[in-house]
């Protein structure tokens, strides 16, 4: 049923080749005369754009097929094959991956273009684009991989790139530490992923370890194993997509350049977890409990992150926490088996969050890398383009109809309600309100009121068009993306959901019109309340507040980082040093030392018998003789 399409392989290949090429160029030129930035800029954009074009080709190809037969696959080569373990380096394009493919390449290309402007004048210009291309390539491998193992390649690849890009300004220790944190925390997740894969393999992998075969054999899997696999894979997801308890790395990841935050830590990489769960929908759909756990973790993360977001002062941190919170929504969605809704939120979120980040980037760019919102203000007049686009993004994020965010979020909340997860729904609505609040808190503080730092204010201006054009394009996306999946109640037929249907295992809940209206009304109300509070507090400018009590506690993010440091990092180091300083010399090496000491002691002690008196030697002989003859007589009788 599935067709072969060789060009699938090319999609990740282009950015990867780009990465290698640019990287080599950079490595060999950076010590001597650096090449002009244009060269890098153009080279950098070739890969992503070509990938996007091919993605369109894929889309068209899939469109041409009957909904049930929408599979394109390409086996590059046998990767490794030992015993019953047989892994192909193969790629699979089905509606799900195609959707991801489209927006990843699209937004990726835009952000590359944006970066040409943003990174201008950086001495590691080339390196940056090498990493970005490498990232895009890995992300595409992740998306297109035809099985968990291939996906894992991309999975780790994007992790590596995020590490490299977070610690991009490597002279500053804190950045590198943030990078390490990201990589290590991700590795914790990856451990879960690997173990999950292993269990899955020994469960049903023997008959082929790619999605289609797994989907075919999933019914052979014992429930217990299935649950284990689901949970372990989800551990991987929590790492990559910054869910409780592994979300801590994402806020720190903002140390990287802003386009990186936009591309990797908002639009694409962090959604990999959601994508993975959706990929394994055939698995999760079978295990109620796992789904619930996912959903609850998701929604709780959403709540927690929203709380943190309300008290941040760094513009990028605000967006970072909003990202975590939105990811929470997505997991809530896939958790309640509304996979298409989750994926759709991924899709819309990509647009408006990328938009917001890039907008924030422009602001930071304009204010010479000032990130504290309490030093901004009144920028509305100075940078109108940025302002308008960002407002659009904010509205989308806050879930104001008819912006894209509204539909996708509402879809999730409705499915939660319809499947009877009232708790999740209630929290979801609450979080929606909080989202509206902190988003517009940011908008108001940054763009409205009086300028707080006049010097910076004077020089602030809209960014060059190479940066603003992508903003506008994204704004349009943020505006209309939602319409693609217009629910029936608004007279649409959920295009995206139907498009995704073949590659997902889900049954659409039918809660009836009342529930739909209830859900919509609730989220709209929540949005209104949130934005109202924000306006009254910050609408006309406000001074930097002083936090106390719960606010202070939330401002310090509940001291979670400190807690982790206490209960994990410090003990780890303590164990390490104690092994090295205490156990090694006193326990493991002690026997060896003891033996050698005993050896020398005996050796020196034995010299005593060599007294030097010949009579004594004779005496030895006689004594020995006597003892031997005694023994002899013993043995004879």
């Amino acid at each position: 049923m599935e067709q072969c399409a060789n060009y699938l392989g090319l999609i990740p290949l282009f950015p990867l080749l780009g990465a290698v090429f640019i990287g080599l160029l950079h490595v060999f030129t950076c010590k001597r005369t650096a090449l002009p930035e244009k060269v890098y800029g153009i080279l950098a954009c070739v890969g992503p754009v070509l990938a996007f074009v091919l993605a369109l080709k894929v889309f068209v190809a899939l469109k041409g097929l009957a909904p049930e037969a929408r599979f394109l696959s390409y086996k590059a080569f046998t990767w490794f094959s030992v015993g019953e373990l047989h892994i192909d380096m193969g790629f699979l394009a089905d509606p799900l991956s195609c959707l991801m493919l489209l927006f990843v390449t699209f937004i990726g290309s835009l952000i590359h273009i944006y970066s040409i402007g943003y990174m201008g004048g950086d001495k590691n210009y080339g390196k940056f684009f090498a990493y970005m291309n490498l990232f895009l390539g890995s992300m595409l491998v992740l998306v297109l991989g035809n099985g968990p193992v291939v996906m894992f390649v991309g999975w780790e690849g994007v992790g590596l790139c995020s590490y490299l890009l977070i610690s991009f300004y490597s002279e500053d220790r804190s950045n590198v530490l943030a990078g390490n944190k990201a990589f290590i925390v991700n590795r914790v997740g990856d451990l879960g992923f690997v173990l999950g894969m292993s269990f899955l393999f020994w469960g049903i992998g023997a008959h082929g370890f790619d999605y289609l075969s797994l989907k075919a054999n999933v019914h052979h899997l014992e429930p217990a194993v299935a649950l284990t696999v689901c949970l372990l894979l989800f551990v991987g997801a929590t790492g990559k997509s910054a869910q409780i308890p592994l979300y801590v790395w994402l806020p720190d990841a903002m140390a990287g350049p802003t386009p990186v935050s936009a591309l990797i830590h908002a639009a694409t990489m962090v959604t990999a977890g959601v994508y993975m769960v959706a990929r394994f929908s055939f698995l999760y759909a079978g295990v109620e409990l796992a789904g619930n756990i996912v959903a609850w973790i998701g929604i709780l993360t959403a709540l927690l992150a929203a709380i943190f977001g309300m008290f941040q002062e760094d513009i990028k941190k605000v967006l970072a926490y909003s990202t975590v919170s939105q990811l929470g929504y997505m997991f809530a969605g896939v958790g309640v088996a509304a996979y298409s809704a989750g994926i759709f939120h991924v899709f819309t979120h990509a647009f408006f969050k990328a938009l917001l980040f890039l907008g924030a980037g422009s602001v930071i760019y304009a204010l010479h890398h000032e990130q504290n919102i309490w030093k901004m203000g009144g920028l509305k007049k100075k940078m109108p383009k940025t302002y308008i686009t960002m407002v659009i993004g904010a509205l989308a994020l806050a879930g104001c109809p008819p912006f894209s965010g509204f539909f996708s979020k509402d879809e999730i909340l409705y499915s939660a309600l319809a499947t009877g997860h009232f708790g999740i729904w209630a929290i979801g609505v609450l979080v929606a309100g909080m989202t509206a609040y902190y988003t517009f808190r940011m908008i108001f503080v940054v763009f409205h009121g009086e300028p707080r730092d006049h010097h910076a204010y004077e020089h602030a201006t809209d960014a060059p068009s190479v940066m603003t054009v992508p903003l506008i394009i994204l704004a349009i996306g943020a505006l209309c993306a939602g319409l693609l999946n217009l629910p029936g109640i608004f007279g649409g037929d959920q295009v995206v959901s139907h498009w995704l249907a073949p590659s997902l295992t889900e049954h659409h809940p039918h809660g009836g019109v009342f529930l739909e209206i209830l859900a919509i009304a609730a989220s709209v109300v929540a949005f209104v309340i949130g934005i109202k509070i924000a306006y009254t507090k910050f609408g006309h400018g406000a001074q930097e507040p002083f936090f106390s009590g719960f606010a202070d506690f939330a401002y310090h993010k509940f001291y979670v980082d400190e807690l982790y440091d206490r209960i994990i990092v410090q003990p780890y180091k303590a164990i390490g040093s104690s092994i090295w300083k205490v156990i090694e010399p006193n326990v493991t090496d002690a026997p060896v030392k003891g033996v050698s000491r005993l050896y020398m002691v005996l050796g020196t002690a034995f010299k005593v018998f060599q007294v030097g008196y010949v009579r004594v030697y004779a005496l030895y002989m006689v004594l020995g003789l006597g003892i031997m003859s005694l023994l002899l007589s013993q043995s004879l009788n």
């Binding site: 050896y599 005996l602 034995f606 002989m621």
Partner: protein, 472 residues
């Protein structure tokens, strides 16, 4: 009769040579260097003759001579070869040694030859009193050699200890053979064997006691525990070449006759297995413990000699009396002789005048000054330590194999353990030579090219022997 004399030819050559040298040394013109070359020549000729006997076809593996008093078996021939080779190298190394230490006279070499003839006789002896006489010929010559430096109180003390304890042990031997004679009515091994076959071991107390005393005497000469104490002091007191000679040739002769005595009859051998077992174990470990603490190189080598006797005793424990071919023992003796003699040869020209260099520390940094000598010494040490691909390793391998094959797994493992223990004090010298800075320049003028040449040849031997396959 002529045939018998033919069999004895090497012995006759050496003995005659000895007497000749003794006579010749009366005339002034014969310097001790000439004597050295002379004796070396004698040994060489005898060696070649012996070799021709070995490789010449249609030689019966076991021929009696003088109606069973002497026997020329492959084993005795091999032992003879080793002894003669040792004699050859010893006389050449002595020649170098006595350039530095001038207490030599031509008689020294004739005595060495006398000792060798005694040893040769010993390897062939098949009759108790012959054994005794051979033993004494050898010992008396060696006594004199040990005490050759009349000026030095050290060597005099050494000879006192050796002579006194040796005579003491000799007395035991005589007593033992007397009793055996009393029991068996003859002192020929063959007769004794027949007697034992007829009556078994436990028939007469005299036989048991006698055999026991004889074994004590052998164990004394082989420096087995608890009769080991003299070795250290005597080796230390004697001149370096003499020590080397004692450590190799004498030990070869003793173990040859010991083996011959033990295989008289299965019953006899069986009786002593348990004894020899414990004695060999104790010998190995006591030897090691003594060696660890030593600072002087000679004393360490003496102690390691004790350990190697322990290994040889393992082989003795393991020999089946049926179709006994002492190939394992012979091989091990050859390997051991090559290694030990090599070291002593090297010491004889590196030791400095009056044996100035005797402790480990005295050889620090030798590798820088005399790289080839240092390398040679290291190879000999590794061979003694039993590290492949040297002869010492193969010898150890054969011994372990024969032991395990004879079901003596415990003994084999203990032997291994002891060789682990012994590793340190062998490496110690290598470490001193290579890894420490030189405290002095070893810059005496090269005195004689003979001894270094011998060392080189012995290095070759160490590897050549290891490749020679034997039939166990």
């Amino acid at each position: 009769m002529t045939n018998d004399l033919m069999l004895l030819m090497p012995l006759i050559i050496v003995g005659a040579g000895a007497i000749l040298l003794m006579v010749a040394s009366t005339c002034e013109k014969l310097t001790h260097e000439l004597a050295a070359y002379g004796s070396a020549g004698i040994f060489a000729v005898a060696f070649l003759v012996q070799l021709s006997f070995c490789i010449a076809g249609n030689v019966a593996p076991y021929t009696e001579a003088f109606n069973g008093v002497l026997v020329a078996s492959n084993f005795s021939k091999a032992a003879g070869l080793i002894i003669l080779a040792c004699g050859f190298f010893t006389s050449l190394s002595s020649q170098a040694y006595f350039k530095r230490n001038n207490f030599c006279s031509p008689e020294y070499y004739s005595l060495a030859a006398f000792a060798a003839s005694g040893m040769l006789l010993l390897t062939m002896a098949q009759e108790l009193i012959t054994v005794f006489i051979a033993l004494e010929i050898m010992s008396l010559a060696i006594y004199v050699l040990v005490g050759y430096d009349r000026k030095s109180v050290i060597s005099t003390e050494a000879v006192l200890k050796y002579l006194m304890l040796g005579a003491f042990a000799g007395a035991f031997f005589v007593m033992g053979s007397a009793f055996v004679y009393g029991a068996a009515g003859s002192t020929k091994f063959v007769k004794i064997g027949q007697y034992l076959a007829a009556h078994g071991m436990l028939h007469s107390l005299a036989m048991i006691g006698g055999a026991f005393f004889i074994m004590v005497a052998f164990l004394f000469k082989a420096a087995a525990f608890p009769f080991h104490a003299w070795v250290i002091d005597v080796y230390d007191g004697a001149a370096v070449p003499v020590t080397g000679y004692m450590a190799t040739a004498l030990k070869t002769a003793i173990f040859a006759v010991f083996a011959n005595f033990l295989v008289i009859d299965g019953a006899l051998q069986q009786q002593w297995i348990t004894f020899l077992f414990w004695i060999s174990v104790l010998t190995m470990f006591v030897g090691n413990l003594i060696a660890i603490g030593q600072q002087s190189l000679k004393r360490m080598l003496a102690a390691s000699g004790i350990v190697h006797s322990g290994y040889l005793l393992i082989a003795l424990v393991a020999i089946g009396s049926k179709n006994f071919s002492g190939s394992v023992i012979a091989f091990y003796l050859a390997a051991y002789a090559a290694g030990t003699l090599g070291i002593f040869t090297a010491l004889s020209y590196l030791g400095g005048s009056g044996e100035a260099r005797k402790t480990f520390d005295d050889f620090k940094g030798l590798a820088k000054a005399r790289p080839f000598s240092a390398a040679a010494i290291s190879i000999f040490l590794l061979s003694m330590a039993g590290i492949p691909p040297t002869a010492g390793f193969m010898g150890k391998f054969y011994i372990i194999t024969s032991a395990i094959n004879a079901g003596e797994i415990t003994l084999a493992v203990l032997g291994i353990v002891s060789s682990i223990i012994s590793m340190w004090y062998y490496l110690r010298l290598i470490i001193a030579m290579y890894f420490h800075e030189a405290e002095e320049q070893f810059d005496e003028p090269a005195i004689s090219s003979w001894a270094p040449a011998c060392t080189f040849v012995l290095v070759l031997c160490v590897f050549a022997i290891s490749l020679y396959p034997i039939t166990v």
